[in-house]
C-alpha cells in the first residue's frame, strides 16, 4: 500500500522520476473517467430525478417577502401581490417553455406588456424581471438586487403591485426553473387594493401563498388553476447535481495541483533531469482553471 502510494504520488525510480499520477496514461484515465461521470450523471438524472437532481426551493411567498424587505429598507411602500399580474407572469413563463426562448420578447414579438394586458391588468406603468436556475428564493432576490436594471424595478417607488410565477420545465433541452416577476401600477387596481388592504396588512411569509390563491378568485377559473400551480418549485433530490459536481471537480483539481507541487519540489531538491512539461506552468494553469470554474454559476438573470 505504502509502495503504491509512493509510486502514485512521488517521483521515484519505479515511475521514471515522475509521479505516476502525472503520467500520460493516468491523465487519459482522468479524461475518460470525467467523460463517463458526465454521461452517467445525465443518465441517472433522467432515470431517477428524485435521487440525482437539482435541489430547488423557490416560493412566491418568500419572493414577495424578500422583495418587500428590500423596499422597506429604503423606506418604500410595500408591493401588493396581484392575481392578474401573477396570471400574466404565468402566461409568460408557459410561453417561454412552449416557444423555447429566454428573452423579454418572444420570437413572435410578444412583449411582457401584452401578457399583462391580456390578463386584464390595465397598467399605467409596468416592468418585468426574469431569473432561471436558481436554487432558492433568497438567491433570486439577491441576484436581482446585485443587477442595476433588475434592482431599479424592485425599488421603483411608482410600482404598487407585483405578480410572480415559478415553473419547472425543459428550455433548450436543459432542465430549467424559471421565475417571472411582473410589476405594475394601475389606478383601477389601486381602488381594489384599498378594499383588500386590511387582508394584506400583517400578512406573514407563510400566509402569503394563501393570499395569492384568494386574490385569484377575481380572474377566470382556468387562469386560477394556471397560476396556483406556479406558486412554488420545491425539489429535494437525495443528491444535488451542482454540489456533487463542484465537490468532485475541485477535489480533483486540488489533488492534481498538490501532486504537481510535491513532484516539482522533489525533482528540484534532488536535481533530477527528466523529459517532462513544466510543473510550475501546469500549477499556474490549473489554478487559473480553478478560478474560472468558481465563476460558473447556474442562476441567470434577464
Amino acid at each position: 500500500m505504502r509502495r503504491f502510494f509512493h509510486h502514485f504520488f512521488f517521483p521515484h525510480q519505479s515511475n521514471n522520476h515522475r509521479a505516476k499520477a502525472l503520467h500520460p496514461d493516468a491523465m487519459l484515465v482522468y479524461i475518460l473517467a470525467l467523460a463517463l461521470f458526465n454521461l452517467s450523471f445525465r443518465y441517472v438524472h433522467q432515470a431517477c430525478p428524485s435521487v440525482l437532481g437539482y435541489a430547488t426551493d423557490i416560493r412566491v411567498s418568500e419572493l414577495l417577502n424578500l422583495t418587500n424587505k428590500e423596499r422597506a429598507s429604503l423606506g418604500l411602500s410595500q408591493l401588493h401581490l396581484n392575481g392578474k399580474l401573477s396570471e400574466a407572469a404565468a402566461k409568460k413563463a408557459r410561453d417561454m417553455f412552449t416557444q423555447g426562448y429566454w428573452s423579454h420578447t418572444s420570437p413572435k414579438g410578444a412583449t411582457p406588456w401584452e401578457f399583462i394586458v391580456s390578463s386584464g391588468y390595465e397598467y399605467s406603468m409596468a416592468g418585468e424581471n426574469l431569473a432561471k436556475n436558481f436554487s432558492n428564493s433568497s438567491g433570486v432576490v439577491s441576484a436581482w438586487m446585485a443587477s442595476k436594471t433588475h434592482k431599479d424595478n424592485i425599488i421603483k417607488p411608482g410600482y404598487h403591485d407585483v405578480g410572480f410565477a415559478i415553473i419547472n420545465g425543459i428550455l433548450d433541452g436543459e432542465e430549467t426553473t424559471l421565475v417571472v416577476q411582473m410589476f405594475g401600477t394601475s389606478e383601477k387596481e389601486d381602488l381594489v387594493a384599498q378594499k383588500t388592504e386590511t387582508v394584506s396588512l400583517g400578512m406573514s411569509t407563510d400566509t402569503a401563498g394563501n393570499f395569492l390563491a384568494e386574490s385569484l378568485t377575481q380572474p377566470t377559473d382556468a387562469s386560477k388553476n394556471l397560476v396556483s400551480s406556479l406558486t412554488s418549485v420545491i425539489n429535494t433530490p437525495k443528491i444535488n447535481i451542482p454540489t456533487i459536481t463542484r465537490d468532485i471537480v475541485f477535489i480533483f483539481l486540488g489533488l492534481l495541483i498538490g501532486i504537481l507541487i510535491i513532484d516539482g519540489f522533489v525533482v528540484f531538491k534532488k536535481r533530477i533531469v527528466r523529459v517532462a512539461g513544466h510543473n510550475l506552468a501546469h500549477i499556474m494553469f490549473f489554478t487559473a482553471l480553478c478560478v474560472a470554474l468558481m465563476l460558473v454559476k447556474r442562476g441567470m438573470l434577464l
Binding site: M27, I31, L34, R298
Partner: protein, 85 residues
C-alpha cells in the same frame, strides 16, 4: 543565462494569457456556450504556449507535446462538466 531570461519572459506571457482568459471567462458568465468557448481558447493557448516555450528553451520532445495536449483535454473536460451541470 539567456535561457533563464527566455524562461522568465515566457512565464510572464503565460501569466498574462491566464489572467486575460479568466477575465474573459468572467465577462461571459451569463452565456454557458461562450464560457465553454473561452475554456477551449484557454486550453489551446496553454498547449501552444507549452510547445513554443519548450521549443525556445531547446527541450521540445513528443512526450512533452502529448503531456500538454492531455492537460489541455483535462481542462476542457472539467469546464464542460461544470458549465453543463
Amino acid at each position: 543565462m539567456k535561457k533563464q531570461w527566455i524562461s522568465i519572459a515566457n512565464f510572464v506571457v503565460l501569466a498574462v494569457i491566464l489572467v486575460l482568459t479568466v477575465f474573459l471567462f468572467w465577462q461571459v458568465r451569463d452565456r454557458p456556450s461562450m464560457q465553454i468557448l473561452v475554456g477551449v481558447l484557454l486550453s489551446v493557448s496553454y498547449v501552444a504556449w507549452g510547445i513554443i516555450h519548450h521549443m525556445m528553451t531547446g527541450n521540445l520532445h513528443p512526450k512533452i507535446v502529448v503531456e500538454y495536449l492531455l492537460v489541455g483535454c483535462i481542462a476542457i473536460t472539467l469546464i464542460i462538466t461544470v458549465v453543463w451541470m
